[in-house]
């Protein structure tokens, strides 16, 4: 049907759109693997871009996925992930009402911002970190105050200095994606003491299960002492359930009660809830994944040293490499070899790429493609 001019004039959609939406551009995710492979002309695709766990879900979760009865797909899931919240509560010594489960951790970021921010408010976070805190704040019409990283880590003093009367939430990614740096428990406590309950402090622990350092804080344990602390975790990374989209937040009951008011119930599907229930706390899986990451990092850093490249290798199942070329060009060139990495310009690290630690074959293929690309570029 052709829209007539009068109708189009009346619609004038521009007049309906808030200014902060006009200025914002939709995030365009990657195309599906089959389309990417066809475009890049490669017969395989090694996904080293999204920090996925190449071991796949823990065995018990895998079994749930394999045996999920089709008729269950026609039944609504638990609207608030009741059993999963009970299990989380038991495992971490908190009350089930201290948890909110979302369709990936991204959804709970939106819940918290919606719950606490109103027109004129702001959030404070780092400039070079996971983008979603900044995005959700910006497209919701709130200012995102970005504090430069210091030595690749969140700058606590810098963040505190940006707080004003309208600051509602401070977002800390611990360990930071993509640098892998982290705040120790002592540093986090010092920060929380300085904030003194005046703002909500969100600590995103998406990669906490990968960290083996003894001074790394367990945010969930600190909630009792700091009722303004909200902790995010996900089943996408260590537990390899990224495709099912499930994550959660935990906090003081009063805080979570507020956040729940903005929460979309029934957003987490039943299969995700059941798989997460079984995956949670599989220590063997965690140890196997940590070993894989350790081995892959050892091999990769050795090869990067050999190639004379600078890198930042901290906590988490990834590391960042600085290239003597544009990161987005490197992305395109590596794609022709069937290797997909994350270009870092979007993280404000131009000429850096982030690589997910993977199985030896994939790591070898990456190193080979990288060496060839650099050789051709010289």
């Amino acid at each position: 049907m052709k829209m007539n001019d009068e109708c189009r004039d009346k619609m004038a959609i521009d007049r309906l759109v808030p200014d902060h939406i006009k200025c914002f551009e939709a995030y365009i995710p990657s195309k599906p693997d089959d389309v990417l492979m066809k475009m890049a002309g490669c017969s395989r695709l090694l996904r080293l871009n999204n920090n996925e766990n190449p071991l796949g879900p823990p065995p018990a979760a895998r079994k749930i996925i394999e045996s999920y009865p089709p008729p269950r797909a026609s039944v609504y899931p638990s609207g608030d992930a009741y059993h999963l919240r009970c299990k989380l509560a038991g495992r971490f010594g908190l009350h089930p009402d201290q948890f909110l489960v979302g369709n990936g951790a991204n959804e709970v970021i939106a819940f918290v911002i919606k719950a606490f921010c109103q027109e004129g408010d702001n959030i404070v976070t780092a400039d070079k970190t996971f983008a979603v805190y900044e995005w959700v704040a910006t497209f919701s019409g709130f200012e995102a105050r970005l504090v430069p990283l210091k030595d690749f880590a969140f700058d606590d003093a810098g963040m505190l200095a940006r707080i004003d009367d309208r600051t509602k939430i401070l977002f800390v990614c611990n360990p930071n994606n993509p640098t892998g740096t982290y705040w120790s428990e002592e540093r986090l406590r010092r920060f929380l003491d300085r904030v003194a309950g005046r703002q909500i402090v969100v600590v995103d622990e998406a990669y906490c299960e990968f960290v083996e350092k003894p001074d790394f804080p367990d945010g969930l344990r600190l909630i009792a002492e700091y009722p303004n602390l909200v902790v995010f975790r996900t089943f996408s990374k260590m537990y390899a359930l990224a495709g099912l989209r499930i994550g959660y937040l935990a906090g003081d009951r009063d805080v979570v009660d507020i956040v729940r008011r903005t929460c979309v119930v029934y957003s987490v599907n039943g299969l995700a809830q059941e798989a997460a229930l079984k995956a949670l706390g599989d220590q063997e899986h965690i140890l196997a994944t940590r070993a894989l990451v350790r081995d892959a990092k050892r091999m990769l850093t050795r090869e990067l040293d050999h190639l004379g490249l600078t890198y930042v290798s901290g906590e988490g199942n990834f590391l960042m490499v600085r290239l003597p070329m544009s990161d987005t060009l490197a992305y395109r060139k590596l794609m022709t070899h069937g290797v997909m990495v994350r270009s870092m310009a979007g993280f404000r690290f131009p000429n850096w790429i982030r690589i997910t630690m993977a199985l030896p074959d994939a790591m070898n293929a990456f190193v080979e493609a990288l060496a060839e690309m650099l050789h051709h570029d010289r």
């Binding site: 990657s30 990417l36 003597p324 544009s326 979007g346 404000r348």
Partner: protein
């Protein structure tokens, strides 16, 4: 008290009829003055409007309404004249519609051409909903930078911080840029400090400078948006006696950091300076012999993608497929090039081209608006006209995301245009830029 500058658009709607020509002219004159344009500029803009409306009154149907919208940019006033058009009328909006190329008097009678001569920029484009939009732009007048005084460049700065330049630092930065760099590496705007200050205040330019501990100005970088998907970068400019590669890298990092997480897909630098650090940008143009007589500009355009390229389909006439394949291979852009051409199907009789004329730079850019069987003749007429208007550079922008635009290729090649470069993602897909050979 100084009255606050008005920047809301002012809109008038009226019938396209001879009786209202002067109303339109008076409206634009008063609106332009109210928005801050001087008497002379407002008169030129209103005369141009008068010509356009008179032209439309002859071409359009009397029952149609025309909408005139005057608005202020950071350094210019713009009058947008739009009206709904029926397809059969479209061909009348070629700038050449009434031109008899052999008859100077005929040229002088052409309203659209006269309008273009009275303004700094003039363009015709087709917008959504079958509306045709004629845009007339008149810039504010600014004094040119004084070149008779020189500022001393600082020695090597041990420490520096990067900061968004305020008005005073912008002027200082421009003095140093004009002093230390050849014209070929400086955009024309940089000769007019007041204009750049206004544009920066309006968000059109962003300028970062590197300042030493004692306030010395060691270098800087500037960028501006071209539409929603492309950012053009200028510099980096380093003023220290011995260049400072680290400062150049820091400026680049900061610039890219600002542009990241915006709608920009590509960053382009048409005038890279010798200070541009290796590895940040890619060569945009293929290696080829000199393309113009202007040998003062040996620099080659550079670009970088701001996002991960995931590939797309482009449409092209067989005559340029070799060029595209070779360029996409060099740039490592995954593209599915689909052939587009006529297979004898019925088509429109008359093509339409829009022309954007920049008189200061003597650059004209043609863009296809509507396909038609007369595309080769129409192109030839436009080229003839633009040559008469002393345009030194004539470009043609082909959107490779629009299959029908490929139909203009044979006409372009026959006239002496050659495919010069691809601008990734600058249209609905990539833009293929053709340029007319100077010896054609």
């Amino acid at each position: 008290m100084t009255p606050q500058k008005e920047n809301r658009p002012i809109v008038m709607k009226m019938p396209v009829a001879e009786a209202f020509i002067f109303l339109a002219a008076a409206f634009v004159n008063h609106a332009a003055k109210g928005l801050g344009l001087d008497e002379e500029g407002a008169d030129a803009l209103s005369l141009a409007t008068e010509e356009v409306i008179a032209y439309l009154a002859r071409m359009a149907h009397a029952e149609q309404d025309v909408e005139i919208c005057c608005s202020a940019g950071s350094c210019f006033i713009e009058a947008k004249i739009s009206l709904p058009v029926r397809e059969l009328q479209l061909h009348a909006f070629n700038m050449t519609a009434t031109v008899n190329a052999d008859d100077e008097a005929g040229l002088d009678q052409m309203g659209l051409l006269i309008a273009s001569r009275m303004t700094d920029r003039f363009r015709i484009a087709r917008s959504a909903g079958q509306r045709l939009v004629l845009t007339l732009v008149k810039e504010f007048q600014y004094p040119e930078i004084k070149r008779d005084t020189s500022s001393q460049a600082p020695g090597k700065l041990g420490q520096y911080t990067l900061q968004a330049a305020d008005a005073a630092h912008i002027k200082w930065f421009l003095r140093l840029v004009n002093q230390y760099y050849p014209d070929a590496l400086i955009p024309l705007d940089f000769r007019y400090p007041g204009k750049v200050v206004d544009m920066a205040a309006g968000g059109d330019y962003q300028i970062l400078t590197a300042n030493g501990a004692a306030g010395e100005l060691g270098g800087g970088i500037a960028w501006r948006w071209e539409g929603r998907k492309t950012v053009e970068l200028y510099g980096p400019y380093i003023f220290q006696e011995h260049s400072d590669p680290q400062m150049a890298c820091d400026l680049m990092d900061m610039c890219i950091g600002h542009v990241a997480r915006t709608s920009a897909l590509t960053l382009i630098n048409r005038r890279p300076t010798p200070d541009l650090p290796e590895g940040y940008l890619e060569a945009l143009e293929p290696k080829r012999d000199k393309i113009s007589t202007d040998d003062s500009d040996p620099a080659r355009a550079r670009f970088r993608m701001m996002v991960e390229e995931t590939g797309e389909v482009v449409w092209a006439h067989p005559d340029v497929v070799d060029f595209l394949q070779s360029e996409y291979r060099r740039l490592v852009f995954p593209r599915d090039i689909q052939a587009s051409g006529s297979d004898g199907e019925a088509g429109e009789p008359f093509s339409v081209l829009s022309a954007e004329i920049d008189r200061r730079l003597a650059v004209a850019t043609l863009r296809p608006i509507w396909p038609g069987g007369d595309s080769a003749e129409n192109l030839a007429a436009h080229v003839e006209l633009l040559r008469r208007e002393a345009m030194a550079t004539i470009l043609f922008e082909m959107d490779l995301g629009q299959a029908w635009q490929a139909g203009f290729t044979p006409g372009l090649i026959a006239l002496g245009f050659f495919p010069r470069m691809i601008l990734p993602h600058a249209g609905s897909a990539d833009l293929l830029i053709f340029q007319l050979r100077t010896d054609a």
